[in-house]
Symmetry: C2
């Protein structure tokens, strides 16, 4: 099953404002409702550290929206872009970076069946 992942990355800064409570309980549920059936999954990460001991994370927060195709993303997100973007100042003053990716592997140990790496056709 093809899957496209739209990531919204909030770069780290020494001084930043990011209201995770608002983000997780108000903003992301609103986004999910706007996207409707096109959205196949939602994830939110809070950056806690970089790779070197004591270093900060590259990104304060990362959100990921999953769709079967990039066209599904464009069609479902497009009509609500203004409303979604207008909500950003309610939780942060960081300007996010957007990345669109193709999901090659997405395997959970808790998924049914053995924990193996599911490869999409493009990875083979």
């Amino acid at each position: 099953m093809q899957m496209v992942k739209v990531s919204v990355l909030y770069p780290y800064a020494d001084a930043f404002r990011f209201d995770f409570d608002y983000y997780c309980t108000k903003h992301m549920p609103m986004v999910k409702d706007k996207l409707g059936d096109a959205c196949q999954g939602i994830a939110v990460d809070r950056g806690i550290a970089g790779g070197a001991a004591g270093s900060p994370p590259s990104f304060v927060a990362m959100a990921h929206l999953y769709f079967h195709t990039e066209a599904d993303f464009q069609a479902s997100f497009g009509p609500h872009t203004a409303e979604i973007m207008d909500d950003v100042p309610n939780y942060t003053d960081i300007t996010p970076v957007i990345q669109i990716s193709e999901v090659l592997i997405n395997a959970r140990r808790s998924d049914p069946g053995p924990f193996h790496l599911h490869l999409s056709s493009s990875a083979n």
Copy 2:
């Protein structure tokens, strides 16, 4: 259930080498085997675009390893660091950026039950 996500981010460059076939069929399965039962999930993304029309992605590739705790990651990855890092030149010449994150939301429409946003305690 608490979850920690270790992301390995490969920054985009105009000229880069990245062997996705080797990465998905050789490197990541090897990493999965080394991590053993501590690893709760594995994901690999291939960057296809940035947010602005026609722009490149910030990252050529992103890999994500999930653990219940950061201690689980350190204990399972640590003993194999040299062997894992020694394999990197076999698929890329990009120096990756590491980020450790706390997973606040990770919801799939295909998960059992309604598609709602599961919040960890720290997000409330």
